[in-house]
Amino acid sequence: MALLDRGQTEPTDTLKSASAEIQTRITDQCALFSQPQDDFRVETLVAQGARVRQGAPVLRSRRQPELTLVAPVAGEVAAIEFGPGRRLVHILFFHLPDAGRHAHDVAAARGGDDAPATRALLLSAGMWTRLRSRPFGRVPAPAEQPSAIFVMALDTRLDAPPPTLALAGREEDFLRGLRALARLTAGPLVVCHDGSAIPAQIAGLGENVRFHRIAPVHPKGLAGLQIAALHPAEAGRPVWDVHAEDVADFGALLATGLVPETRLVSVSGLALRENRLMRCQPGADLRALCFDIVKPGPHRLLTGLHDGVEARWLGPWARQVVAVKGATAPPRRHWFSAALRSAGRPLPIIPTAALDEAFGGLLPSTALMRALAANDAETAARFGALSLIEEDLALADYLTAARPRFAIMLRAMLDRVAAEERA
């Protein structure tokens, strides 16, 4: 697939040079938010206007009272907005640097040796939402027992922040986090890496920890494709994936009781004058991360290049901010061409090398795409669709310009399978 630029998986030069000095920017505003489809009903633990310390519990899930969300910065609760049924829309914070940090009680977890206490600590310290459970790509239920955990110590997406940089100087925390995570599963804990981000001293992590080296070629660094290839997720056989930086955050929490303040994110895109790496708090205001390097003219902010959605705040799994030129009105189409465009949905997909490359040769791409387009959940599940979520199909969507997007068809199928599972 020579027309596909293979060089794209390497960080661009500007990102490399930016890594020399990564600035930390705590934005003045930040927020925890949820989408209506998440159906996240909460009760508040703080009042509007209250001063909160960084890491202090602010929200508790109504359905799963163990699950708590914590304040991403030290500051003041500026606004809390609910949808119908006390579903969270967002809780907004103003940053006040002198409000302090909240220390969680980590004695019970004994540095991660006590699995139930570790689980309870991750839930109560707001770190549980960093985990992602497949099938369905949701935050795992508090009592869920994963059949495997995948730690992604590489990120092959274009311009994504290299986990190597995020882990630099945090090897101790990373190993402590790995040890603790390995006790949360009876199955394997697979650390996917490209050979660069792994600490030298990895002995004594536990028998179920495995290291899996991957060529750093997009899309092979996507968790979904690796899970589908190595340990397929199914209903009743959930597989978690978590970013290596979050594992290091778990380790830091277990050691100190403090929730780490920042996360490494990349800010890039065609609407910016330069690309940069920076550390900012979870839930940071995306506009504040790039206001000083944005080119004149309208732009939109996405949380990811191919898999990005338009957003205002940095979500729990997002590490990439992409500014694209944009927001011009869609061109007015003549009714005739509109009819031609919409008559034959979903558009046929021609199996080319581009489609094969979009799955890294790990899955039978054409058969999987045809099953998705035909809405055949059983066949798609046999080909590994239950291990995938939207981000894993983003490259296929991008390359084939599929309409409707495969990601949307996959989400609809996953929602249907999930509803059938519940019934």
């Binding site: 697939m1 020579a2 027309l3 596909l4 190595l230 340990h231 397929p232 056989r237 939109r300 996405l302 290049l305 191919h306 990005g308 959605v309 338009e310 694209v324 009819a339 031609l340 465009r341 008559a343 034959g344 558009l347 046929p348 997909i349 021609i350 199996p351 080319t352 090398a353 581009a354 489609l355 094969d356 490359e357 040769g361 039978p364 791409s365 054409t366 058969a367 046999r382 080909f383 969507d397 991008y398 390359l399 084939t400 310009a401 599929a402």
Partner: protein
């Protein structure tokens, strides 16, 4: 949020671009006769595309031009306009447009049209392909593989089978030329060829093996007839080969649990 360019029409245009060396070589060797024939097939197939666009809101595809090139190049000669129209209509409508257009078809419309004409009008002579067409296929394969629209595994499988025939079974140059031209025009169509990696190898090998079988065992068959028949049978078997490949893949996955 950003969109790529690899939709159906891009693939069709790249296939057309890849076929240009072949088309140019053929037009140089046949001159005005070939050009007129190509225009006739293009108009006839294009009319059906327009008809289906108006009646069924089915967008026409540039792949229709590739079909027309294949029909003009490989269909029996000296047929007269009415039989040609019949054959083109049958191939384009029953082979492609009735299924919803290029990308949803089961067999290649050009294969169907040529086979229909060849077997329906057995008195009409098959075309004799000039030798240089076979060499232009190398350029077609190079461009198509570089752009990712021609599966190299199919070409390699077919090439291996035909090479065996060439060196050990005394396959002649005319058959090899016809097999090569049919390979890039009909067999390598990404829609109707096998779509798994193992399936592509098997598909190419099957096509090459059928060419060998027909060339050596079919008394009285001419090279283009041999190659087109092999392409038709191989494309009918393509879903089976894919199924075999997928079954094997699933069996290997069983141990993952």
């Amino acid at each position: 949020m950003t969109r790529g360019i690899w939709d159906r029409e891009t693939v069709a245009l790249l296939l057309l671009a890849a076929a240009l060396p072949l088309a140019a070589t053929w037009l140089l060797s046949t001159g005005m006769t070939g050009a007129l024939r190509l225009v006739f097939v293009l108009v006839a197939a294009g009319l059906w595309h327009v008809a289906f666009m108006l009646a069924r809101a089915q967008p026409p595809s540039f792949a229709g031009a590739l079909t027309a090139l294949a029909i003009a190049l490989l269909a029996p000669v000296d047929l007269g306009p009415i039989p040609m129209l019949l054959g083109i209509s049958f191939g384009v409508v029953a082979g492609e447009l009735a299924f919803g257009g290029w990308g949803r078809n089961v067999v290649n419309p050009a294969t169907l049209a040529i086979a229909f004409l060849g077997f329906g009008f057995p008195a009409a002579p098959w075309p004799v392909l000039p030798i240089q067409l076979g060499w232009s296929v190398i350029a077609v394969v190079a461009i198509g593989t570089f752009a990712g629209v021609i599966a190299w595994r199919v070409v390699a499988g077919a090439g291996a089978a035909i090479a065996v025939g060439w060196y050990s079974l005394g396959l002649g140059m005319p058959v090899a030329t016809a097999a090569a031209v049919v390979l890039v025009l009909l067999v390598c169509d990404p829609v109707t060829s096998a779509s798994t990696n193992l399936g592509r190898w098997l598909y190419g090998l099957l096509y090459g093996a059928l060419v060998l079988l027909f060339a050596l065992g079919w008394k009285g068959a001419v090279p283009v007839q041999v190659a087109v028949s092999a392409a038709l049978l191989a494309s009918l078997a393509a879903p089976l080969l894919d199924e075999i490949a997928i079954r094997l893949w699933l069996a290997r996955r069983k141990r993952l649990g």
